[in-house]
């Protein structure tokens, strides 16, 4: 174990998996000598050379297609889409090709590829460079979706993603790259579909994804001072989703808040709320409250962007409302 940033943890995972398996390679824009727009692939070009760390032109459809075709013929590509916001130029290759190929072919293909992309607001990058789009990927049979919130998870989940025989969409939060935490030195795969209970509590369950898991912990701290004991659950992967852990928690706390940074309407919070409203209805003592961004594109200016990103105060208010 050592203290590492989320970014270093990702870099570790890539390096160790590439050392372990010669079929693993990286492709994307500026992932080579430049080291990736946020630096995640730093040093890999030097270590593995340009055959395994491949700079591409600006051509996201061709990137995902190249990954898909290479995966279908036996390699294990890890491609980077520089910002998840660019998914719109290449969505077809992802959702109609990579995601469906196995099914359409009657189970006769494997597509072991990873699509890494940073999400999220907070750096003033405005409407086309700040989105959180996981809800689209949740609604996409054939892919898995990981959203690590800690350095340890970043490493463990990326290792699992690379070893998985299906397309995995791996969503990093750009505001988390710099956070530090303990990370195992070895390459330990962290299972998909197992939520982390970030904090135990009795009174209210807060399910929060990605960076919002940190916001939820902050809120839990404030709530504790009020005498409200919040349980914070981080699903870690939303597809598969650990519904059981959420339901178990709700059975204990009898109330649920779901928080994410994506736009609230049609977000992943809706799915989680709906699952609980079906599976644990009888245990609920209060309405399910969702916290998410307002129904707008991400605005540029700092005060607007800050108003866009759900805050700990929003969660605290919701929890108080539930108790009140």
């Amino acid at each position: 174990m050592a203290m590492k940033t989320y970014l270093q943890a990702l870099n570790d995972a890539l390096r160790q998996e590439m050392e372990r398996d010669p079929d693993v390679f990286i492709l994307g824009e500026d992932v080579g000598q430049f080291g990736g727009c946020f630096g995640v692939t730093q040093g890999l070009f030097k270590q593995f050379g340009e055959a395994r760390v491949k700079d591409t032109p600006i051509t996201e459809s061709a990137i995902i297609g190249a990954a898909t075709g290479a995966a279908a013929t036996g390699l294990r590509p890890v491609c980077e889409i520089m910002f998840v916001d660019f998914i719109g130029v290449c969505m077809d290759q992802l959702f109609n090709q990579a995601a469906k190929m196995r099914y359409m072919f009657g189970g006769k293909a494997k597509i072991p590829m990873v699509l890494r992309a940073p999400q999220g607001a907070g750096i003033g990058a405005a409407a086309q460079h700040s989105q959180s789009l996981e809800a689209w990927f949740l609604h996409m049979p054939g892919v898995k979706v990981a959203m690590p919130s800690t350095p340890e998870d970043a490493k463990g989940l990326l290792i699992t993603a690379i070893r998985d025989d299906n397309p995995v969409i791996f969503l990093e939060h750009k505001m988390l790259y710099g956070i530090e935490g303990e990370v195992p030195d070895e390459a330990i795969a962290m299972p998909f579909g197992q939520a982390a209970i970030r904090r135990e509590g009795r009174d209210v369950t807060i399910v929060a994804t990605s960076k919002m898991a940190h916001t939820a912990l902050e809120a839990a701290e404030t709530l504790a001072a009020d005498g409200i004991s919040a349980e914070v659950i981080d699903p870690r992967t939303i597809s598969p989703l650990d519904t059981q852990a959420i339901v178990d928690s709700v059975k204990k706390t009898h109330s649920l808040i779901v928080a994410h940074e994506a736009v609230k309407t049609g977000g992943v919070g809706a799915e989680i709320a709906a699952q609980v409203a079906e599976a644990a209805f009888d245990y609920l003592d209060a309405p399910i409250i969702r916290i998410g961004a307002p129904f707008t594109p991400v605005p540029f200016s700092v005060p607007l962007e800050q108003a866009f990103i759900p805050s700990a105060a929003d969660i605290v208010k919701a929890a108080r409302r539930l108790r009140g």
């Binding site: 051509t59 297609g65 090709q97 099914y103 359409m104």
Partner: protein
């Protein structure tokens, strides 16, 4: 390039197999026996046949919505194809894919594709794997004139050329994308001219002349295999049927079709083979009969095969 006699006869047989297969499908569709869309390849047989005849078993192809010809030419099994088109569990995709998604990864067939322009990027991926591994497998990417206007196709051409990938882009210019004639969808007369945008060879060939296709694609395959990168081969041809079965073809004149029927690639090649003493009338007839029998067996197989059970729906989503 001289083509050996055995290969010539094989190519004749392949074209005949495609024609017979598609003609049967036409009947079955009219009789309401096939669900979904069926896009027939009748009239274009020389393209798939000539192109795939240049390939080795381990080479790859990516196909299109109009894929039956490509699949047959790459060695696809008629039984499993027919069963798939009938939606049977014994089909290539267990009935999950249908006409537009037939694949046989073991035969190097990386799928028909329902998305116009969907195949190019994937073809690059297979070619990249070949280059990565240092084996010399080549990929043929079939795409239509309409598909050449789709951004994914153009990105695929660019990446293949920037990375010198072993892909041969075989354009089937049959004059139309559904109802849209090429003269309305693009300003260039020859799609091969688009090769200039990527600094790769661009060749126009008579797509109804199977040996011409074989030679042009063969040249490109050789280039690709020896590391000289991709090429674009445009095969001018024509589809006899509507875009899909059921299309009344209001957008084109009958006389245009008649002209092209005169250029039917199969009798044309048959006559040539006869003239050169490679194929006798009897041998040709025997081939046709053998294929008809093979097809009958495929049909019987498909008809007798069971449909999938509803419960199978959840299988094969994830590995």
């Amino acid at each position: 390039m001289s083509i050996d006699k055995e290969k010539m006869i094989q190519m004749f047989a392949t074209m005949t197999r495609i024609r017979q297969f598609e003609t049967k499908l036409q009947e079955f569709f009219a009789a309401g026996k096939i669900p979904g869309f069926v896009h027939l390849y009748i009239g274009e047989e020389a393209v798939a046949t000539g192109a795939c005849a240049t390939l080795r078993d381990q080479d790859y192809i990516t196909s299109t919505h109009r894929g039956h010809g490509h699949l047959i030419a790459k060695g696809g099994d008629l039984k499993r194809m027919m069963a798939e088109i009938f939606g049977k569990r014994t089909g290539y995709c267990k009935g999950k894919g249908g006409s537009m998604h037939i694949a046989d990864v073991e035969l190097g067939i990386l799928g028909a594709n329902g998305i116009v322009g969907g195949g190019g990027p994937i073809a690059n991926g297979a070619a990249l794997a070949s280059k990565y591994r240092g084996n010399d497998r080549v990929v043929v990417c079939f795409f239509g004139d309409g598909a050449s206007n789709q951004g994914t196709t153009q990105e695929a051409l660019n990446l293949a050329s920037a990375w010198r990938l072993p892909v041969v882009f075989v354009n089937e210019n049959n004059g139309y994308g559904i109802s849209c004639p090429t003269c309305k969808s693009m300003a260039v007369a020859d799609i091969a001219d688009r090769a200039a945008a990527y600094d790769i060879p661009g060749v126009v060939v008579d797509g109804n002349d199977v040996t011409a296709v074989y030679e042009a694609v063969g040249e490109a395959v050789k280039r690709a295999r020896t590391g000289d990168g991709p090429s674009l081969i445009e095969c001018k041809t024509y589809r006899w049927r509507g875009h899909f079965e059921g299309d009344a073809c209001v957008y084109r004149d009958d006389c245009e079709l008649e002209d092209w029927v005169k250029k039917d690639p199969i009798p044309r090649f048959e006559k040539k083979l006869q003239a050169e003493g490679i194929l006798s009338v009897e041998k040709a007839e025997a081939i046709r009969k053998a294929i008809a029998a093979e097809l009958d067996a495929a049909i019987a197989f498909a008809e007798q095969s069971p449909l999938p059970e509803a419960s199978e729906i959840l299988e094969d989503v994830y590995a």
